[in-house]
Amino acid sequence: MTSYADYTTGEPVSDTKAPDGPVAGRWDKRRFEAKLVNPANRRKHTVIVVGTGLAGGSAGATLAEQGYHVVQFCYQDSPRRAHSIAAQGGINAAKNYRNDGDSVHRLFYDTVKGGDFRARESNVHRLAQISVEIIDQCVAQGVPFAREYGGLLDTRSFGGVQVSRTFYARGQTGQQLLLGAYQALSRQIAAGNVELHPRTEMLDLIVVDGRARGIVARDLVTGRIDTHFADAVVLASGGYGNVFYLSTNAMNSNATAIWRAHRRGAYLANPCFTQIHPTCIPRTGDHQSKLTLMSESLRNDGRIWVPKAHGDTRPPAEIPEDERDYYLERTYPSFGNLVPRDIASRAAKNVCDEGRGVGPGGQGVYLDFADAIARLGRAEVEEKYGNLFEMYARITAEDPYEVPMRIYPAVHYTMGGLWVDYDLQTTVPGLFAIGEANFSDHGANRLGASALMQGLADGYFVLPSTINDYLARHPHHDEVSADHPAVTGAVRETEDRLARLLAVGGDRTPDSFHRELGELMWEFCGMARTNAGLRKALERIPQIREEFWRRLKVPGTGEEFNQSLEKAHRIVDYLELAELMCLDALHRAESCGGHFRTESQTPDGEAARRDEAFSYAAAWEFTATGAAPVLHKEDLVFEYVHPTQRSYA
């Protein structure tokens, strides 16, 4: 067998659904060209939606309103708990309520530039257009956004932009938007239009005659394996940041749905594009199970610094002003503390690598509110950030009103995901991917407050329009037979995999493997990547995988509530996905956005893109476990925002 790194290059992929013509008219044009399904016929169509976060919740509710029969799944006990709920800062929209020069075009421009020119222009423009409708929709649902005294909506600014276009609900914007979608979904459940399966996890995709026709799922309470059939399957299962073990993702967020779809033929694009968020609470020890984010909005008023001297261990209050290095303000005077996330994270890593980091192990930088408290008063700072300060204090036992916060970057979001066309359809006909599960809109770096925007754009507006076209072209007249070999095969493979996990009977826990893989990924496929490091990781991952199947210990049986089995099954998929991430990072011998290859940097240490060689999205095709995948390139064409070296100085 050839080595995994000896990938081959196949036919290029192209987004065949994006209309041509002026970018501002493409979405209208596509909506007009897309076929519709007669309202009376819609209830004959079943659509499976996996996940109930912002993308899945909004899609399920909207498809059900349109009259489709929706069957929806989440692994949580309630659809209200999906991890979108933890998003803090806000949601972008080009409303220009501030009259500060914002426009759809500017949001489009900022997003393409912020993504370091690795996103598709037509998708990003559509996202910017839809952004304004999202705010209207959410207000109509009763989402309690922050308001001014005149009763109108308040906004704030966020990293990487110079306008104030971020709508927010204190530090709990994700929660409020998710509950809006959850409530809309609840209305449809009550109306009988959505059949909800909580505590149920998708373990495989069923592809019949080349079309996605259902899923294999496990009831997490009883352990029962069931098949569910549909005319189309929508994956809204989120990102894969938990491959790193420590991330800001929820503990149970996982990559199984997208990885199993990938194994069944869906290409996975740009898996190495992961976002390391600059402002998270540093870890305290080996017991650490996850990392907690502090909203990027804190960078509006907090100032980031480290001591000028190496190894300065004085308490922050004793370090005089002229011995502090406000390194972001110094290096990037026009954006200051509000540079995009990838830049802020790398800068933090650099000062810590220089030996100027603060706190235990020198893995931290200060985020200081002393100036903001002096300028605005404590009450106003508390009004804006009170819940975040309280959360910080609970976790660290330090008072951020008195002592500067300590922060350090952590894995937060994955820009990569299933490759989708303009209709958000994957390379498997009938399989759609929305929200963080797809790859399309953020390029190599996502701007703050854009994840919520994309999740809701996909779920409320894009998918419900584009899926009609697919369903109209595949009128419902064939039931999937439970005896079809594709169905029985998928069920048998799933049952075998679970049985094998239970049968190993070794001496290591699932978590111990997950932790080992995560440490490897953080070291070699984290904030800075090198050819040698990635090759080392590619050598190591198959060894961990081999050891996993030899030494794993999963207690209990498959016919009961078994959280160890759930974990172990997710790790099976991480152990394959991690390999693809490293390969993708290795093959992309350039730096762009969150992907920083040490070999490719400018003289001042910024990411150096190599457009002549890498101006494409890398869509990978699965072949077999551990076997070299096939690369399909989608060339990126920039007609409106011309690629330049990003400058935030």
């Binding site: 909207t62 309103e65 949580q76 006990d77 309630s78 209200r80 708990r81 999906a82 991890h83 709920i85 409708e133 209207d136 929709q137 207000v139 109509a140 649902q141 009763g142 309690p144 956004f145 922050a146 308001r147 009763g151 109108l152 909506l153 609900a169 709990q172 929660q175 409020q176 509950l179 409530q183 809309a184 609840s186 209305r187 459940i189 009550a190 909580p198 309470v221 800001t248 929820a250 503990m251 305290t284 017991h287 199970s289 984010l293 309280e390 959360m391 204090a393 609970r394 976790i395 008072d399 009103y401 507006f461 001496d507 826990t509 111990s512 207690p555 209990g556 009961e560 959280q563 160890s564």
Partner: protein, 260 residues
Amino acid sequence: MRLTLRVWRQRNAAADGALSTYEIDGISPDMSFLEMLDTLNEELILSGDDPVAFDHDCREGICGACSLVINGAAHGPKGVSPARADSRAWGSTTTCQLHMRSFRDGDTIDIEPWRAAAFPVVKDLVVDRSAFDRIIQAGGYITAPTGAAPEAHATPVPKPDADSAFEHAECIGCGACVAACPNGAAMLFTSAKVNHLNVLPQGAPERGTRVLDMVAQMDEEGFGGCTLAGECATVCPKGIPLFSITAMNREFLRAARKGR
């Protein structure tokens, strides 16, 4: 730290449960309570025992999944806030935001699931809270189909109303209010959603039916009646105030008189 844990173990909904005792050592005060349980579970797996099942997900106090009664208190003991000048207790927290520095070396800690008739035990410390979802399904929404929305600024909302809506909308649906209530009532949970939506102009058209339908569903699920004991508001990790219940009662009476 060295601790003695007495943990509720119950194989499934049909089985009887009991407290089992475990000794655990090497616990760091910086660990979260759930990381302490992770440590116990790693040991249990290696020694061939069944690890303790518990619900958890975001581990940052917002998803509402974690749900432990610790030493008799829903979500455990209150912490002391270093972020408040007067060092007064900062109210309750979620279990995942509770850290071991709140305990002392040598402590014995009792760990139980939410106890309420409407929240049957699934396994060990995991309970079924789907009754909450059905209360929301009964009317905890505004009927606003996608695409039908007017321009956001067409409906100004006075800031005090918006703030009040937000304060109630913060509820994470964890169920601590029910677990703490001597009657197993879900009034604080239900009133949080009723007040969030009823205070807003967008929620006004369904104001009456919302409260009537949600309260009816709440009763049907087998939650107890409210005697304003106030335990719910004391343990609520999001500080939903007790007056939320009286505000809902007012809404209920208004709607009942009008017949909708």
